[in-house]
Point group: D2
Chain length 332, copies 4
């Protein structure tokens, strides 16, 4: 079986997924939809796909799966439309910025027994996968603490920040998903601090640019996330997992694997500073995993519930900052 | 001027300081006091010093400075006695486990215009000093976040833990001092989580073995401390300081600077796993710094107030765990 | 202009180049030829190309360029045939194992003003390119010494070794080209030692498995190459260039960028151990560079002369081992 | 037993050994001799030793061992004098620059059954010792190749070079000893190249500043030494040993274990750039090893024969450069 795809949204991330679909031997790109016709046209031409509309794609017998890369506020509606249309759905994060809306959306997905995978691409990064494999192997014993360092090279445009849902729901949500993935137990409490150190315009927009989050599980495992919207030395993406017998870490990726040694010292290049370069292989692996779910009927991972739970933790972080206390999240 | 020293307490740490005094060209070891006579005898003989009593040392015109390495509950009394006796005082941390007692002790020190240095040896570790120098140079811009990883190789005996004042006051206090040293601003809030993952006997003793602490300053700078009483791979002691222009980190010290490469991978040795080996040069530098303060009349650094403030933060961490909320510490 | 390609030889390396051609926006794969019909068929189908014969390809007006991946003893004849046919030629190394034959072949290429690029893919490895860029930038001053470490994970089959031309012409030739590329001056002398430490069957086949080569240039620059047919820890491919002001090095590529720390030490995974994985991006960059030469008429680099000169150095190394003396190579 | 020492020669290296003797619990420094009286005086005062003459020391019943740190041309005579006087002898390298003179000197040592240790301090460097231990453990299988990188921060004064015996006998001799130590088999052939790239004054003095040496053993093991009188980034001292199962390497020592990350990259400090700092612990370990030989009667290691053999290899390297051929050294 070759999985036949439509991509909804021909922007930057839509192009990344189109490329991954094209490169996958078990997938083929059939149709592109985008409100901006020339964008759809250009992408469709490059991959010999056709331009279509959302409704036509939903109705088409030729399409097995859709990749939703539209603006966030359309995600939940589109998921519901395609769940009802019997298509497998891969949706960019988040499903929605509102937990209640996410819940109703997931109910529709469940009612239609639809396949839904949420795009947390970091779970598919080769280094993070290698780290997870080592954690699962038991080489470090039982997991006790997870430390995530996640710092963007530079803040996004202020217009983006205003619509983003804020640092915790937009940026930290990736780390919260990774923390859940690695802790091996549901999270029960959330604490956070946040400040504005990078750009006062971010404060004016009601957001933060610098934060730390503390998570605990029922058995007392702990995770920390440190976030900043700025890292002068590139895109800082590191993981450490501490266990009863040892530690495993995933290191950063530099622009090249070279060192210059002079009287000034030994210098490796700065880090890859663009998320699409840093996670290029993760994006390809992610689509490949989704394709296999569609082919084999396996449960998608990360699932819609993973998307929901990460959002619940992000909301709790927001609440902890505001209320200056530990937030109980039930089970997330 | 050669500073003439007495060491009070001939145990493990007293021996370390005796060695550092002997190696310092500007210092000489004159007397040793210890409740256990043979311990004092043995140390005194090794360095050609004499055995004496605390009161005789306080009264002696031949002694310029004392190093207090007795059990913790004697620290404050001894500081007061020697402040009144006009001796310069170097005291192992903590001054006392009770903040109120520390305050009255420091008042006595101030009233007698005595010189008091509190032993936070990490400030004198060559790698940490090099890190501090880089932070101060401005190369990373303004400090925004400090991340401290501090994990002991193995828990101390349970009897030690019972008298220790607990994880925060005994172990984290070093990290809290380092955080204060590096943040460059007073700490205003403290949050913490703590659990027992290493040994249930530690819970039975009313203590924790695994913790994270979150600090903030008035301008929004943040610091995290992650602590564990166990690290299977050695004594994990790392610092990262993030600034507006970059990051500086101090890395761990391995048992040797070698790598073995086989089909199993590329393996560096585990970390130095004993604090006296890891901080050997720090202890020597620390005494040397104290000697220079005594010679030149410069203010000791870290001071008694530094000892007090680190204890205030440790107490706030204890309170935050118990009350599950952010604790305001005024200025510490 | 889209460069229209035929691939001659559908084996392992032919497949690598076919994939690179397919991925290049400025190239298209038109035809495949292979003595083994099903091999040609399978590769042609995968890329929607057609199966053809060498003579038909030479005669076809639809083909701009050929990639020669046939057995070595056909290389020179094919280069001459396609030079006369007016096609641009990309040929796997070596042009021939015999220097005289290479010279007549290059004369034919010159007489026909044909475009010929010889496949030394290491010049296109991203890390080695970054190293070269730094050398060229002057940051390390004038080049003084080049040290190349080049060790295969495991020896090839003995049948391969018998036809390979020997360690120096088959394996070291890549390093000799890299040394020439980095020294920035022609090589004038060659010394070498060689032994059999890996497998006596290699000695029985008249070859070596462990060698060191010493090169010098006219001004006294030096290069060393250390080679082994075995490296238990993966495919060891490192470069160090020492200059008047400093050093630049290109490090190895590990299977993943992770570290496991336990009581046994801190372990990074072994090296990528397959040359096609290790040099995957180099192969793609190499074809892309050739495509641009064909499009723009730029001189190919590495050229046929580079192929000749590397072979001259390999021959000199063979001679040095046999005669136990320094070999003058004129200018290579 | 406490070994009672005299130090002959109160210069830079004499001071290093005096400090090591003073720090050793099993040794005591009794006397200092130096042609320059104030130098002897100052060193003697610092360690509460007495100033004496060479002849008085030889005659003294109070002296067990001497450390010879005089100019090189006195070494052999002094060794013979003290061998006859029944003192244990620790001598700075080289015994003499002339192989024949070394042989007669060693004959005298043997005839008097004297204890003689030659100062190749690198064998006592903690990292090199850890490397040797791993090689001996069998973890990398049988040794196949040794690669030594040994580059001074900056050339010594030209006056020093003129009297030094040349690059191979003065500088490379340390590496030749390390190569012998690690190869585990006698060296049978030597090749070398040498040039002047650092300073034409070195050529004018008849010496080289940049060299490579190739050694082989009877079974075909190989070693390379790369030397330069200049390394802009500090004192470059590295070892790699390749075996049938893997590799072990000893890395460089940086000024501190810190990294600064900015837009310019990730920078570790330059290397420790002074041999006395770099090998501080090696010098202390070396004297401690000699003290134990004197106490226990164990054979010194490195021995006089090790000094002789390293010199034979250095001479062969000189000869190889001049004659442009492989030099057979018998067994060294």
């Amino acid at each position: 079986m070759t999985v036949r795809f439509a991509v909804l949204g021909a922007g930057r991330i839509g192009q990344v997924h189109a490329k991954a679909i094209d490169a996958d031997r078990d997938a083929t790109l059939v149709a592109i939809a985008d409100a901006i016709e020339p964008a759809a046209q250009s992408l469709a031409e490059f991959y010999s796909a056709s331009v279509s509309s959302i409704d036509a794609i939903a109705a088409s017998a030729d399409i097995d799966a859709v990749v939703i890369c539209t603006p966030t506020d359309m995600h939940a509606d589109l998921i519901e439309q395609f769940a009802k249309a019997g298509k497998a759905i891969f949706c960019e994060k988040p499903i929605d910025l509102d937990v209640a809306r996410v819940r109703t959306c997931l109910a529709t997905v469940a009612a239609n027994e639809a396949t839904l995978m949420v795009a947390f691409q970091r779970r598919f990064d080769p280094d993070f996968m290698a780290l997870k494999e080592r954690v699962d192997s038991g080489v470090i014993g039982d997991v006790e603490m997870v430390v995530l360092t996640s710092r963007d090279p530079a803040p996004p445009p202020i217009e983006y920040i205003k619509r983003s849902g804020g640092l915790f729901r937009d940026m930290a949500i990736h780390d919260l998903d990774v923390a859940r993935w690695l802790l091996g137990e549901p999270v029960v409490t959330v604490q956070a601090v946040a400040s504005v150190l990078v750009d006062p315009a971010i404060a004016a927009a009601g957001d933060f640019d610098t934060a730390n989050i503390l998570l605990t599980t029922d058995s007392g495992r702990q995770a920390t996330v440190n976030n900043s919207r700025r890292a002068g030395y590139g895109y800082d993406q590191r993981i450490e997992v501490f266990g009863s017998k040892g530690m495993v870490s995933a290191l950063n990726t530099h622009e090249s694997n070279t060192v210059v040694a002079t009287a000034e010292g030994f210098t490796q290049p700065a880090l890859q500073d663009f998320f699409m370069t840093r996670y290029e292989r993760a994006y390809a692996n992610e689509i490949a995993a989704f394709v296999q779910c569609v082919k084999t009927g396996a449960d998608p991972n990360p699932s819609g519930e993973d998307g929901l739970n990460a959002l619940i933790l992000a909301d709790a972080a927001v609440q902890s900052v505001a209320q200056r206390r530990t937030i109980d999240v039930g089970i997330a």
